[in-house]
Symmetry: D2
Amino acid sequence: MPYRRAPEWQISHWFNTPEPLTLARLQGRPVLALAFQMLCPGCVSHGWPQFLRVTAAFPELYAIGLHSVFEHHDVQGTPAALAVFLHEYGIDVPVGLDMPGGGAGPPLTMRAYDMKGTPTLLLIDAMGRLRRQYFGPVSDLHLGAAVAALIGEAAAGNDNPPADEFGDVGRR
Amino acid sequence: MPYRRAPEWQISHWFNTPEPLTLARLQGRPVLALAFQMLCPGCVSHGWPQFLRVTAAFPELYAIGLHSVFEHHDVQGTPAALAVFLHEYGIDVPVGLDMPGGGAGPPLTMRAYDMKGTPTLLLIDAMGRLRRQYFGPVSDLHLGAAVAALIGEAAAGNDNPPADEFGDVGRR
Amino acid sequence: MPYRRAPEWQISHWFNTPEPLTLARLQGRPVLALAFQMLCPGCVSHGWPQFLRVTAAFPELYAIGLHSVFEHHDVQGTPAALAVFLHEYGIDVPVGLDMPGGGAGPPLTMRAYDMKGTPTLLLIDAMGRLRRQYFGPVSDLHLGAAVAALIGEAAAGNDNPPADEFGDVGRR
Amino acid sequence: MPYRRAPEWQISHWFNTPEPLTLARLQGRPVLALAFQMLCPGCVSHGWPQFLRVTAAFPELYAIGLHSVFEHHDVQGTPAALAVFLHEYGIDVPVGLDMPGGGAGPPLTMRAYDMKGTPTLLLIDAMGRLRRQYFGPVSDLHLGAAVAALIGEAAAGNDNPPADEFGDVGRR
């Protein structure tokens, strides 16, 4: 099998959900997660609008935000700061605060996925495998294709997808 | 099989191709066709830009334009008018002039597909079956999904696709 | 006086007006005219939308379209073709068909203003003087400034405006 | 004179300027100021892009940002938070942190101008008079007109402008 299991995320604080959302609990449906920082311009201008567009178009997805603060922790990194951001932007999907790794570096989930920065999109299939990871812009055309393929597999009960014709990080 | 064979198109004049492009000749790769009128505002502002975006993103597609003139035939309907439009807009994909049906009504290909107007997108799979027909706006997300599914089937040699989970005319 | 009198336009056919609109008749209010061709992509995608935006924002303006066909006369140049274009695009401001100059060259109004192509915007003050001529893109910021200045002069009865601080063809 | 003197702003901390910028010091050129909050979506998506567009188009303006925090003071209201925002968004015009008024209410400059929220644009003429105050969206067309009028007055040494034909808060 060419895909690795998506690392379980490590979250210090959840918003917009009554209980923690582990990957294990979400299995059975594809997951689209957006790792962002509240003061990252590309996250606010492109990442979040596209993420909300995709999750509205494909309600079969679990939609999860990950606040992966790797710089300016004092300003962006607190639950209070994240709560204000979510309130001001009217975001009501579940969002987890990525667990600080100690010191000034990236948080633990960001490290486990070896993310290069924000925004990063993670696309995880219904079996819990990491199928796509996009850092920076990806077109709606290619993202829609990647998402729909996982929804189709889940609907068909197909747990042995073809090797990915789009390469490691997804066609953009 | 839930899909019907795409009707062969009927063309009076081809542009940007050394020889006529019948559906029979194109079999083996999915086809995306845009039926338009040169003076239809939605075709110019949305239809053509999206069509060119999709065909650039997915080079596995055959990209075909169909000039399906169902009104103002005297102004829009001549090969000379279409030639000027293609030149001014820098369109270099093959475009066929949909065969006039006689009188003021819709042309023959438009009738065969029972198109409601322009722009209409036709998505035909590598086996020559009509899989999607969109009249008016469709999101890049859903169009990318539909196109990529047919490319995936063709690559896998899968000629027995699942019943369409998106319904008759495609999710938008 | 640093401004020249705007040349009277020469029109073979008017649309959307019960009688011909000479510049002499329009004097007393500023005039914004858009010279275009129906198959010029920049005219359709940028020129007309901006022109309609400006004339809606500043109802003090006379808004006039000039169909200045300098190429592909057989396809674009007839009153019938222009009528279809205006109908399909829902344009209801007065539009004049610039008088053909004979042969394949530019029409007479286009020549009188020495236009370089389409779209071209002409801004004429309430005294009938040509104050701005923009070929190609101009920002809403600078166009709004230029239009409002002429409206202000007309309201103040000021017929001796300062030399233009923006230069010959207008700041963009 | 129908215009009131713009109240001097009250700033607790300046960024991107070697010394405090009082209105008295800026007199002689028109001033465009943007009052914003770093976590206000409309400020980030529309207010700042338009402000930067206007100040690039009209270099005769003094461009000033005012961080007028009237809610979520603990997250948005510190100099450290503002410094991160300016760094992440690449903003290099002078920005002042509006002086907190004590408690949870609006800061002192916001009160002095009776601002209704953010984003708010203030347009102050070269004589130090408040000429326009826009809360929320204003079109580039009308903003360009208002700005250029003040630049024209300043260039002409005209200190007795006509009563404003656009009304109290500016045409949008």
